[in-house]
Amino acid sequence: MRIVVASGKGGTGKTTVATSLALSAGNSVRFMDCDVEAPNAALFLQPILDTRKEVGIQLPVVDESLCTHCGKCAEVCEFHAIAVIGKKVLIFPELCHGCGSCTLICPEKAISERLDVMGVLESGLTATGMDFAQGVMNVGEPMAVPIIRELKKWNPMSFPYGDDVRGAIATKQSYADGRLLPEGRNDMIEIRDSPPGASCPVVETMRGADFILLVTEPTPFGLHDLKQVVGITRELEIPIGVVVNRDGIGDNAVEAYCAEAGIPILLRIPMERRFAEAIASGKTLVEAAPEYRPVFHSLLQDISARVGA
């Protein structure tokens, strides 16, 4: 079962909810920090990050001795990252999305690819044996999606199942549709901590998920951004539930909206100073308030029942 914790608005408590959900899930949890522009879940879960991989996009490299300047690569490129002018091929790396269309369409097989490194993937186990992975985008890189895509299909060394499963998920077929786990192994729980916002990195994080938990706060900003991400989840046709964080502040508009839109509110976390203090000092919510451990455990069971897994 793959659960995405998203919010729209930043700072509503995605990581607070995602980390506590992961810590309340028992064994076989894989935590993925998909907020590659500013990953912070590691600060709370403290994994030993002992596995690393550089990732990015594949940029075209043209072999001038094979190129006939037919221009098919320039025609197929949706981003105009490759142009053929007379007997010259121009490549504009900053426009390239690494889709590989030019390489595929070249009738002379004159195009090869080289990795343009945009960030790293890191993984390792936490003290409780949780399988943790995160993407970290290089400073100055504006395109997060390729790193998230690689993170989702990455097969880190700390994957707790045996080689048979590891081999199965390493094949392209099994993750082509965004599925990470092979059939029959949905007992494992993957929790993806999403980036904030409602743009491509969020969509990529959500793609292939079984359930999306939307963390919001009962304020006009919280509501506005909640509506944005609800729109994305509807488009992706993935079931959702809402967590109202800092319950008690603001107004009742989030509640009214959820009731009208038929979105279940699965959990409310009240605004309490001790939570804020704990999180500011690097503790998770369930560590600061152990009474929330069964609450998050029930939330997980609730989600599981809704997914039907």
Partner: protein
């Protein structure tokens, strides 16, 4: 000589459009015969790389020169090897494609020696 002028419209009397990559259209005119045709700019709705796409379009039209208000670095880098000469027209007065043609014939337009501004993309988008 065939020159392409960035315009908003589809006539020789249409107003000059100082944008290159995002020009509404290009008027292709033969400076000797006066024969002209208007062509919608396929790059107008491009999500990115409009300068590159417009430059390739101009080259395919067979223009030997182009007149616009500014050229971005990627448009410049694409038009240069295509051997399309880049001319700059004044952007502070309302001119038509016909006015631009007259200025061109009179030799009153300056050539762009380098890209007019930084690209609209700062790295990957």
């Amino acid at each position: 000589m065939k020159i392409a002028i960035s315009i908003s419209g589809n006539k020789l009397e249409s107003p000059f459009d100082p944008h290159f990559g995002r020009a509404a259209a290009f008027c292709l005119v033969d400076s000797e015969t006066g024969e002209w045709s208007a062509h919608e700019n396929p790059a107008l709705s491009a999500s990115g790389g409009a300068g590159v796409q417009a430059a390739q379009f101009i080259a395919k039209l067979g223009a030997q020169a182009v007149v616009s208000g500014a050229y971005g670095p990627k448009a410049f880098d694409t038009l240069s090897p295509a051997e399309v000469e880049m001319y700059l027209a004044p952007t502070d007065e309302p001119l038509t494609a016909a006015d631009i043609l007259a200025l061109f014939k009179a030799g009153k337009l300056n050539k762009a020696a380098a890209a007019s501004h930084a690209g609209h993309h700062e790295g990957h988008h």
